[in-house]
Symmetry: C2
Subunit: 333 residues, 2 copies
DNA sequence: CTGAAAGCGCTTACAG
DNA sequence: CTGAAAGCGCTTACAG
């Protein structure tokens, strides 16, 4: 292994001079010496040791991406895309990404962040209950996504979930639907709770019923869906799902039951994943701009890294309707 | 920041004793001392510094996952799933993952691997042309996936691509199809080339035509598909795509043209991604077991890490037909 | 513009 | 079972 010392000896200078060249403190080294050292570095294939550098400088140039989801994080196209974009933007700044998935215990998180002395971390899908412990234990810049924590001084990038729910309900009601199924109720996830609240508020105002029997969990079974369809005295005419992936699955299940979407029943999703643009029928959905969300998260993180006095910010990106083919006007009876 | 030294002072022992406790060299520390140190460690929230540890021990407990694909790696469900599973299995062994995406230059790879002194690396989608340079520059255990390099002593995990192509052609021919479109020709990718070779060989034997005009690239445009459909004097009755994602896109395009799958034309994919099981129609495809592939890659890597004398292995996982609803018998004319 | 000294927080190797 | 010394490969802080 080639070290600074080797280069210094070969160039007949001190290690400090070589160190300055590597770190581009060019103003302090003569052009001639500099060029000679650069030649030797490239000839010997010298690569600085990040561990030594981090140990003495106390900056790791490492960003942690911490994801709550377990073994197969990437089953979710949303997670996949977020992580992909975040990695891209972090690398663009010359930093490296450490990926932690399936993190269940906030103590683990702290152990990893500290042990690797990361310069910052971005969290996906962490439940708000652990958030304060994490912040308390880690005095580095942290960016959360989709948090509804009321903690002060929290930097977060989220989307207008409540508004998304409203848009969904409004669209279905405009299309004449009154007997609706909502998929994505959750007591654990504030994100889903907000989407549902927006949806339910619009329904209430419009006199549309959203029965508890037609409020299904996150990832409903075939049986739950079938039961909800025929509940009460009027069949449901539209389904709103809080995720595109689940919406596509529901369309598949409905199709297996001999129901055509949107002729017999309308289905609407949330996220605007790529598959929704090529599914049959093409999915009407609510878009969230994942690339932008990732970009904001990374930008905010680096703002805090370069200037610790940067005030905390809660950035809420807006969402909007993407009308495609999976929602039709309700049949008049 | 709490250090080994702090713990040692508080416990009234040397740093070596604390170091032994942390690294579980328990046989060499008295139970009493050990318990006392453990208490102090937990009370002070001590976390060992990975940089210091790695610098002196020359082992980083770091695995690099290097992916050729660019900005949005995770657009591909295959990549997403592979990376997700690999991360999971690596973490299970107490190692951390450094993710490098969009790597274009093998020199970059070398710089990163060396700089972080990673204990091993797994490569996805690296073209074989760089493979020898990478191996030459990095004397650590490396596992490649889907490589067709003829280099000796190469540890690789791949699948039976040729056989996959054969299975696809055989299935379509058995269903009575003779006028076929193949999607996924590539001069750069040996994986695709092998799938195509298997497909073409079976076609030739069965007297089915695979015209160059009906051999389309990896990710064909709508125009290319439409043109291929009506080429020659007999319309194509089946399409074979080397990726499920593209197959689903093709079904969507065909549907936009008023063609029903499989009544008017059959479509077959490759990979068995999750979406294929819920698409309309459900996709007939060739399965590759991504979880298993990731598991093998990680296992092989760690075998080589723990014992450098482990012989190189080229593991080829088999593939098989998953019959669903997107392929039907050809209409007799 | 250049360098000698000290130190980052650990582990290795040796000694007792 | 325990410890003193040296060193991993860099950077910081100071001096000239």
């Amino acid at each position: 292994m080639v070290t600074l010392k080797d280069i210094a000896e070969e160039a007949g200078v001190s290690v400090m001079t070589v160190s300055r060249v590597i770190n581009n403190v060019s103003s302090k080294v003569s052009d001639e010496t500099r060029a000679r050292i650069l030649d030797i570095i490239s000839a010997r294939g010298y690569v600085p040791n990040s561990f030594a550098r981090s140990l003495s400088s106390r900056s790791s140039r490492l960003i942690a991406v911490v994801v709550a989801a377990g073994e197969n994080v990437f089953r979710s196209p949303y997670n996949s895309n977020m992580i992909g974009y975040i990695t891209h933007f972090v690398q663009e700044r010359g930093y490296s990404v450490m990926l932690y998935t399936g993190v269940s215990d906030f103590k683990d998180i702290t152990r990893q962040l500290r042990s690797w002395n990361v310069d910052g971390a971005i969290f996906l899908g962490i439940f708000d209950s652990d958030l304060n412990r994490i912040r308390q234990d880690n005095k580095i810049p942290l960016v959360f996504t989709d948090s509804y924590s009321t903690a002060r001084q929290l930097t977060n990038v989220g989307i207008a979930d409540y508004h998304g729910g409203e848009i969904g309900a409004r669209h279905l009601i405009e299309k004449g639907h009154r007997d609706l199924i909502f998929v994505g109720s959750s007591i654990e996830s504030p994100v889903l709770r907000e989407r549902m609240r927006g949806f339910a508020d619009v329904c209430a105002k419009a006199g549309a019923t959203l029965a508890p029997e037609r409020t299904l969990p996150d990832d409903p079974t075939k049986e739950q869906i079938i039961k909800a369809l025929s509940w009460g005295n009027k069949p449901a005419t539209a389904v709103f799902s809080t995720s595109d992936f689940v919406a596509l699955n529901i369309i598949s299940i409905l199709s297996d039951q001999g129901l055509r979407v949107p002729q017999d029943i309308s289905v609407m999703g949330f996220d605007n994943i790529e598959m929704g643009a090529i599914s049959i029928p093409k999915l009407t959905t609510i878009t969230q701009d994942i690339r932008k969300k990732a970009q904001y998260s990374v930008n905010l993180l680096f703002e805090h890294i370069s200037n610790p006095d940067t005030p905390a910010q809660n950035v809420i990106l807006d969402v909007h309707l993407v009308e495609r083919d999976s929602v039709a006007a309700a049949n008049s009876i």
